[in-house]
Symmetry: none
């Protein structure tokens, strides 16, 4: 599968020519790489222009501001991830199967779009106001999606994805496991993300199921 930037147009954006869209994709990918490496604050528009081999002023044809750049990056990436995971969760199967597919899907997305996802995961608070809320809304929908499946694992399919204190907290813990991977994962040392996903599930599945009886 070709390694492309996660695509999903930002709101209120008219797509110009196809070539422009392509360039924008490239810009965002390079931007993600820089932001992932140095952090958003520490990445200057000059850095970006240099990395992209464009002029500083040229960047402002694609992004109205530095913040807008981050917003587009987060919006597209998070939107893409959510879309993918919604499709994954919609496929039929037992709660355990759907849970497994979500974990794997998340980690595969991580593997394919590491830089972009890192900028989403760790730079959320670099946005403020409306852009922040827009992205935060996506993030919350994703959290809800995961919670509903976790709830099914805990309570069985009959629970119908109904959130409980336990399912909510467990989801937060699981996202912690998933997102912390940025801090340590190296394919050559730790194996494939699919293996990691399985290990994560093995760590928590019994604990989740125990809830069926006790809570």
């Amino acid at each position: 599968m070709p390694k492309t930037s996660a695509v999903m147009p930002a709101p209120g954006r008219r797509l110009a020519r196809a070539s422009t869209q392509k360039k924008l994709d490239e810009l965002l990918m390079k931007a993600a790489s820089l932001v992932a490496r140095k952090g958003f604050e520490a990445t200057s528009m000059r850095d970006l222009a240099k990395a992209i081999d464009a002029s500083l002023a040229g960047l402002y044809h694609y992004f109205s501001s530095k913040e807008d750049l981050l917003f587009q990056l987060q919006y597209r990436t998070f939107g893409s991830l959510l879309e993918q995971q919604q499709a994954v969760a919609a496929e039929p199967g037992t709660p355990e199967e759907r849970f497994a597919r979500l974990i794997t899907g998340h980690l595969q997305f991580y593997a394919r779009h590491r830089n972009e996802l890192k900028a989403c995961t760790f730079e959320l608070e670099s946005l403020t106001g409306k852009p922040y809320e827009t992205v935060e809304a996506i993030r919350r929908r994703y959290y809800r999606l995961m919670t509903s499946v976790v709830a099914d694992v805990i309570g069985g399919p009959s629970s119908n994805g109904k959130e409980t204190r336990k399912s909510r907290h467990a989801t937060l813990f699981i996202f912690g496991m998933l997102n912390w991977i940025f801090m340590w994962y190296e394919p050559s040392r730790h194996g494939t993300v699919e293996q990691i996903g399985q290990e994560m599930r093995e760590l928590v599945l019994d604990g989740l199921r125990r809830g069926k009886r006790s809570g």
Copy 2:
């Protein structure tokens, strides 16, 4: 218990007067608060000086540079945490008990020194060179300590803290759960950290023990 900055002098520091030491503690606490809220890069020395109600130049009596400030903050905090957890792990008990105490200890430290710990957990890469390595070494010792206890939970006391792939990965997952708490925890919504700690253990304990049989 009084809320003080985690105390542990940085290396190579001679303290002049006692009042200076006190002030330094206060500086670091305020600094941690700002850094936790806005991030290290986005926190300017001016911000700090203002928050502390001191002059900008005055800061440089206590820290040779902005980076030195972060280093001292991380060194003291991480050092304190490690010291505490070493003591906790050294107390006798079954592996499960020791594991429980470590989780609780970590979360209690979080509750008491949230800002300082956040600056340690999320700004590690804002240091470079020797300071980075010095702090990284502490972090690694803490990781090892946790891994050895996790290994005992997995393999029983007879395993003697010997690391395995499973114990190492499980520890990374658990640290993910623990550290992600910065992203969501609110005492009024989620209960005490002690409760959170118990929930975490319930989520993973079965999964850890399963290892005793299966691998």
Copy 3:
């Protein structure tokens, strides 16, 4: 003759528009004036910006740093001087005539580019590393050029510009006379530089020629 900055582009500089080149010339001239008056260290970039009626940040379009500014100033000026004097020395004539032309040429250059030359003569050590060496190399070539002509005056044309201890030392003494002029020369009090040049030659010519016989 119009009073312009000594022109010679610095190495590795591509000039954008013609107007930019013009502005750069103006900047260097004003900079030379300030540096000559107050010294390089004591001249701040803010001073320069003010004198030029530009913004502080704008300066950094032309010079990558304060040191780069000094380097460009020295490189252009010294390069221009060397070029001129090489042409002067290349013209045919007796050793005495060529010596006379070099002295006059140097003093005329001084008269036309006093400020720029002063920054070259007295701020050489404000540069370090590669820029220093680049300028120092020009200076040395100039010194060699002068020494070879002085040697011819001492030993006659047959000596072919071969350096001797005497010619080297005499050249150093003569450069002292020439460069010290910055400390005292005022046209209205001391006459033209051409007159000054003649007086210098009268002071040393006999002494140089004496060498023909005795050493």
Copy 4:
């Protein structure tokens, strides 16, 4: 002869204890060393304090300001030089002999107090106002002393040190030769200062004497 700082108390200074005087001497010597190496502007009071192994605030017991430090340095050094050269010029002898003694005396002073003299020679304009004028007055007296002897060489003892255009200019040239030595002299490469002095005289003596006849 012991290498000490050139001693001559600054005006309006009460000498405290002998130990204080000694320390002051040491301070000035170290200061001269730094100023000679880096220039006055580029030398900070912190640099000085560190070099002297004293506290920053401590410096202000000896010097009321940074400028005062430079003033005392220049006043003492130039005063000492003038005193020495006045004694030298007062000794009987032919004009040529007295001229020779002055040149040698100057260069020997240079050799013994290189750093101090450099700060006098090249940092004169770092002073302003009254301090500048005070030092400038000494410098002028020294210039007059030299001019009178040069005039005697030119015009014979009967000229009685009467200044002429020629003697004034020749003195300026000669001071150029003498002072430029800071830029190039290395004992191991160029021989003793006494040798250098003789070479200087050989370079200019004929030219000076020629004046006896022609103007």
